[in-house]
C-alpha cells in the first residue's frame, strides 16, 4: 500500500503570521486594483464584466459559408473583442448571433442619449465587421449575398442588449451567500464551538475575496458562470475546514495534557494525506477544465482553480489560527476564572467536556 505523508510533523500554526501576511498582501493588491481601476479616469472598471452583467451589442450576421464557432471566436478576439457570446441560429443555419460586451469608453446610464446609444451600437458593429472581414467581404448597403457573388457575409441586424443578470441577480447572489454563511456559522457553532464557526466563515470570506482579487488584478471576465463558481468555492472551503475541526474535536479528549496548539497542528498533519489527495483530485479535474475546457468556460474554471486551492490553504492558514487565537483569549479567561476557585483540575475537565475546546492555548 502506498502511503503519502505519514508521520509528518509540520508546525503549520507556527507559520500563521507568514500565511496571514501573504493573504493580506494579495487582498490588498486586489483592493488597490479594484479601486485604482475604478478611480482612474478613462480606465477600465474594477472588474471586467461580461455581456451577462453589462449588456452590449448583438450583431446578427448571415454567412454564405458559416465558419466554425472557434474560428469566429478567434477572429473576434483578434479584433480586440475579448469575450464574445456566439449563439448559433438553429432554424436559420447560415445565421449567427454575436453578442459583445459594452465597449469600455461608454457606460450605460439613465442619461445616455439616443445619439450616444447609436454610436455605441455602431462602434460595436464596426468591431464585429472588422473581425468578420477576415472571412471575406461584406455585402454592404442594399447588396445581398445573392446579388453580390464576391461577398462572404452580411450583417443583417445590429442592436443593443441590456444585461441578463442585472444588479438584481448580483445582489441576490451576495445576500443569499451571506445568509448561507449565517446558517453555516450557526450549525458549526452548534456542533463544535463559536470560535470554530468564526474561523470557518472567515476562511470562506477570505477565499471569496481572494478570488475576486485575482479577477480584478488579472481582469478575467466576470460573467454568470463566475457566480456559480463562487458558490462552489464557498461549499468546498467549509467542507475542508470541518474535516480538520472534526479531527481536532476527536483528538481533544485523548490528549488531555497537550496544548490546543499542538493538537491542532497534529490534526492538520494527520489529515494531511486526505487533504492532499482530495484537493489534488479536485484540482486535477478543474485543471483539465482550465486547459481543455475552452475559452467560454475559462472564467468558470479559473475561478474554481484559484478558489478550490484557496479552500485548502485557508483551512490551515486562516480558519485554524483564528479558531485557536480566539480559543486562546477564552482559555486565558477561563484559566484565570478556574484558578481563582478551588478544584481547578475537575473544573477544567468539565469545561472541556461541555465545550470541545475550552483549555489554555500556549504559544
Amino acid at each position: 500500500m502506498f502511503n503519502l505523508f505519514q508521520n509528518i510533523h509540520i508546525d503549520w500554526l507556527g507559520k500563521r503570521r507568514i500565511f496571514i501576511g501573504i493573504s493580506i498582501t494579495i487582498m490588498l493588491a486586489g483592493l488597490v486594483s479594484a479601486i485604482g481601476r475604478q478611480a482612474m479616469p478613462g480606465g477600465t472598471d474594477a472588474f471586467n464584466e461580461g455581456v451577462d452583467f453589462k449588456g452590449g451589442t448583438v450583431v446578427t450576421a448571415k454567412f454564405r459559408q458559416r465558419p466554425a464557432d472557434d474560428d469566429l471566436r478567434a477572429a473576434l478576439n483578434n479584433a480586440g473583442i475579448g469575450d464574445p457570446v456566439i449563439q448559433a441560429s438553429l432554424d436559420k443555419t447560415d445565421e449567427v448571433l454575436i453578442k459583445i460586451p459594452l465597449l469600455e469608453t461608454e457606460s450605460e446610464s439613465q442619461t445616455q442619449t439616443e445619439q450616444q446609444h447609436q454610436e455605441q451600437v455602431q462602434q460595436g458593429r464596426g468591431l464585429v465587421k472588422k473581425a468578420l472581414d477576415t472571412f471575406g467581404k461584406e455585402a454592404e448597403g442594399d447588396n445581398t449575398l445573392d446579388n453580390a457573388p464576391d461577398t462572404a457575409y452580411k450583417i443583417v441586424g445590429t442592436d443593443s442588449v441590456g444585461a441578463i443578470a442585472g444588479s438584481q441577480l448580483r445582489n441576490q447572489a451576495v445576500t443569499a451567500t451571506l445568509l448561507g454563511c449565517v446558517g453555516i456559522l450557526l450549525f458549526i457553532a452548534f456542533r463544535y464551538d463559536w470560535t470554530y464557526a468564526a474561523g470557518a466563515v472567515l476562511a470562506v470570506f477570505h477565499d471569496v475575496l481572494m478570488v475576486l482579487s485575482f479577477f480584478s488584478i488579472f481582469q478575467w471576465e466576470v460573467n454568470l458562470t463566475v457566480i456559480a463558481a463562487v458558490l462552489t468555492i464557498v461549499g468546498f472551503s467549509v467542507n475542508d475546514s470541518i474535516v480538520i475541526f472534526d479531527r481536532v474535536r476527536e483528538n481533544l479528549p485523548n490528549n488531555r495534557t497537550d496544548t490546543l496548539f499542538k493538537i491542532t497542528n497534529d490534526s492538520i498533519n494527520q489529515t494531511l494525506s486526505r487533504t492532499v489527495i482530495t484537493a489534488g483530485l479536485v484540482l486535477l479535474s478543474v485543471l483539465s477544465l482550465v486547459l481543455f475546457g475552452g475559452e467560454v468556460l475559462r472564467s468558470f474554471s479559473l475561478a474554481l482553480l484559484v478558489g478550490l486551492t484557496l479552500g485548502c490553504y485557508s483551512t490551515v492558514a486562516i480558519a485554524s489560527p483564528i479558531a485557536i487565537w480566539w480559543q486562546g483569549k477564552l482559555g486565558a479567561a477561563k484559566a484565570k476564572e478556574v484558578a481563582s476557585t478551588v478544584g481547578g483540575a475537575t473544573k477544567m475537565a468539565s469545561a472541556s467536556r461541555r465545550s470541545v475546546t475550552r483549555r489554555p492555548v500556549t504559544r
Partner: protein, 555 residues
C-alpha cells in the same frame, strides 16, 4: 442465514441502481430493442434530461411593447378624467379633445367662459395626475397640457420595465425554467428579448405572454341589464354613450369546441357604470377550479387585496338587491344579484377548459400589461455557451473524471473499485433525481454537480485514509473497517449537513442560476450519504463475509 442483513442491503442497492439507471437511460415508454443500442441510449438520455438555455439553446423572441399605444391610452384617460373633474366642480368646460400621434401627446379642454381657466386648471390638478406634463398652455377658451419629449421617454421606459416584470412573472408562473429576459435596443424602442429553453408548446407561451386580461367589477346601471342588441342599449341612453357609462355584451362563452361553436353570439347587452368599482389591479390572487370535477367546466375564483376588498365590501353592502357585472376583457361574464355584503371573494363564471382557465388565472394574477405586445423576431437559437465550448467542456470533464478514477484505483487498489462504484452510482442517481423533479440543468447546476462529486470523492478518501490509520495502529481488518466508517461518518455527516443547510438557504433566497446550483448540490449530497457510506460499506462487508480470515486488505 447469517448474511440476511447483507442480502437486504444488497437488494436495496440493486433495486435503486436499476431504477436510477432506467430513469437516466431508459425511454418513457415500453422499451424496444433500439433502446439498448448506443444511439438509442444517447437519444433517451438527451430526451430525459432537460438542458437549459446555456447548454442546449431554445426559442429567441424579440417583442415590442406598444409604448405609443400606452401613451395614447394615458392621454385619453387623462382627458376623460380632466373633463369629469371640471364638470363635477360645475366649471364651464364644454368638451375635451386629445392629440396622440407622431410623438405628440396633448389634452385640451374647451371652456365656454375663458375667465374661469385658472379655476379649471386648479381643479383638474387636484384630481388628475398631470405632474409629468408640465404647465398647461391657456389660450382663449382652450387649456392644453402637452407631454414633453423627455417625459414621454421616461414614461415609455417605465412602461417597458413594467411589462418586463409582468412577462417575467407570467413565464415563471407557467414553469418555463431559467429563461433570460433583457431589454433590447435603446431605452425608447420598447423592445424586449426573451430567450427560453425548449418548451412543449411555444405558441401557448407566446399567447400567455401577450394576453390582455383585464378584470373589472362594475355596477349595472339601474334597470339596464337586458337589451337584445347594442343599438337598443345605446338608444336607452339617448343615442350616445356618456363617459360614465359603458355598453358591453354578456357573453356566456363556452370554450369546449366539440359541444358548441367557439364564440357564441352575445346573449344580451348591458349598460354599466364607469369607472368600475374595483379593477384588476386590486386582485390579490386568482385560481382555476372545476365546479363539477369535469375537465371542461372550469371557472376562475379570485380574491381582492385589502384596499380593494374594503371598497368592494362597502359598495356591495350599500347595493344589496342590485346587479353586479363581472367584466373580463370588455365582456360581461356574469351579472349576479347582490344578495349580501361581499368583501374579497368572487368567481368568473363560464365554461372554460382547464388550460384556458389556468392561463387566464395566471395572467390575471400577474397584472395587466401596460400596452399590447407585438412579436418582431422569432428564431431557434443554439446554446448560449456555444456548442464548441460545451463539447470541449464535456470532454475536459470526462478526462478529469477518468484521471480521478485511475488515481483511486492506483492508490487504493481493491478498495479503489469500491470508491469508483460509489462515485459512478452517485452521478447516475443524482441525474436520475434531477429527472424525477423535472429540473433543468444549466451550467450553475453542473457546478453543483461538480462540488457534489468532489465531496463524494472526499468522503471516500476520508473513509479509506481512516481505515489505513487504524490498520497502521495494528487493529484487525474487520475492526479497522468498522472504526474507519464510524469515525469518518461523523465527519461526513457534519460536512454534508453544513453544505446542505447553506444550499437550502441559497435555494430559498435565490432564483434561476443560484437555485439550479443549490438543487443539484443538495441532491448530490443526499445521494452521496447513500453511495459513499451505505453502498461502499456493503461492498466491504461482502468482502469480509466472503473471506473471513483475510490477512491483507487491499486498500
Amino acid at each position: 442465514m447469517k448474511n440476511t442483513g447483507l442480502w437486504i442491503r444488497t437488494a436495496i442497492i440493486i433495486a435503486i441502481t436499476l431504477a436510477g439507471t432506467y430513469l437516466v437511460f431508459g425511454p418513457r415508454r415500453v422499451p424496444t430493442a433500439a433502446d439498448f443500442t448506443w444511439a438509442g441510449i444517447k437519444n433517451n438520455l438527451s430526451e430525459n434530461i432537460n438542458l437549459g438555455l446555456d447548454l442546449k439553446g431554445g426559442s429567441h423572441l424579440v417583442m415590442r411593447v406598444r409604448t405609443d399605444e400606452y401613451l395614447k391610452a394615458l392621454t385619453e384617460n387623462n382627458a376623460q378624467a380632466a373633463l369629469t373633474a371640471a364638470q363635477d366642480a360645475k366649471l364651464p368646460v364644454t368638451a375635451n379633445s386629445t392629440v396622440a400621434e407622431n410623438g405628440n401627446y396633448s389634452v385640451s379642454l374647451t371652456l365656454s367662459d375663458p375667465s374661469q381657466a385658472q379655476a379649471v386648471v386648479d381643479e383638474v390638478k387636484k384630481k388628475v395626475d398631470f405632474s409629468q406634463w408640465g404647465d398647461p398652455n391657456i389660450s382663449g377658451g382652450t387649456i392644453t397640457w402637452s407631454l414633453p419629449n423627455q417625459a414621454q421617454n421616461v414614461m415609455k421606459d417605465q412602461a417597458v420595465e413594467q411589462a418586463l416584470k409582468i412577462i417575467e412573472s407570467r413565464i415563471n408562473a407557467f414553469g418555463v425554467k431559467e429563461p433570460t429576459l433583457q431589454r433590447q435596443g435603446s431605452k425608447t424602442s420598447g423592445q424586449i428579448l426573451l430567450q427560453m429553453p425548449g418548451v412543449d408548446d411555444p405558441e401557448r407561451v407566446k399567447k400567455l405572454i401577450g394576453a390582455e386580461s383585464h378584470l373589472m367589477l362594475m355596477k349595472v346601471a339601474e334597470g339596464s341589464y337586458d337589451f337584445p342588441t347594442k343599438e337598443a342599449a345605446i338608444a336607452s341612453l339617448g343615442g350616445t354613450i356618456p363617459p360614465t357609462r359603458k355598453v358591453l355584451p354578456l357573453t356566456e362563452r363556452d370554450e369546449n369546441a366539440n359541444t358548441t361553436p367557439q364564440n357564441q353570439p352575445p346573449t344580451r347587452w348591458m349598460v354599466l357604470e364607469y369607472p368600475p368599482i374595483v379593477d384588476g389591479s386590486e386582485l390579490r390572487d386568482a385560481s382555476a377550479y372545476s365546479r363539477t370535477g369535469s375537465q371542461s367546466d372550469y371557472q376562475i375564483s379570485f380574491s381582492l387585496k385589502p384596499a380593494g376588498a374594503q371598497k368592494f365590501g362597502e359598495w356591495t353592502g350599500k347595493n344589496i338587491g342590485k346587479y353586479l357585472a363581472i367584466v373580463l376583457n370588455d365582456e360581461v361574464k356574469s351579472a349576479p344579484v347582490i344578495k349580501g355584503q361581499i368583501f374579497d371573494q368572487g368567481t368568473i363564471e363560464g365554461r372554460f377548459t382547464k388550460t384556458s382557465a389556468e392561463d387566464l388565472a395566471l395572467t390575471l394574477k400577474s397584472g395587466a400589461l401596460p400596452a399590447k405586445i407585438d412579436y418582431q423576431e422569432e428564431r431557434t437559437v443554439g446554446p448560449s455557451l456555444g456548442a464548441d465550448s460545451i463539447r470541449a467542456g464535456v470532454e475536459a470533464s470526462v478526462g478529469g473524471l477518468a484521471l480521478v478514477i485511475l488515481f483511486m484505483l492506483f492508490y487504493y487498489r481493491g478498495s479503489g473499485v469500491n470508491a469508483v462504484v460509489a462515485l459512478v452510482l452517485n452521478m447516475i442517481l443524482t441525474v436520475a433525481a434531477l429527472i424525477v423533479i423535472k429540473s433543468t440543468l444549466t451550467l450553475p447546476g453542473i457546478a453543483g454537480l461538480i462540488l457534489g462529486i468532489g465531496m463524494a470523492v472526499d468522503s471516500n478518501v476520508l473513509i479509506f485514509e481512516r481505515i489505513r490509520e487504524e490498520l497502521r495502529l495494528g487493529i484487525s481488518i474487520p475492526e479497522s473497517i468498522h472504526i474507519g466508517f464510524d469515525r469518518a461518518f461523523v465527519t461526513i455527516i457534519d460536512t454534508h449537513i453544513t453544505t446542505i443547510i447553506s444550499s437550502l438557504i441559497l435555494y430559498m433566497n435565490g432564483s434561476g442560476p443560484i437555485r439550479g446550483f443549490a438543487v443539484t448540490l443538495i441532491l448530490g449530497l443526499l445521494i452521496n450519504l447513500f453511495t459513499a457510506v451505505f453502498v461502499s460499506r456493503t461492498i466491504f462487508n461482502w468482502e469480509l463475509s466472503l473471506r473471513p480470515n483475510m490477512k491483507h486488505l487491499s486498500i
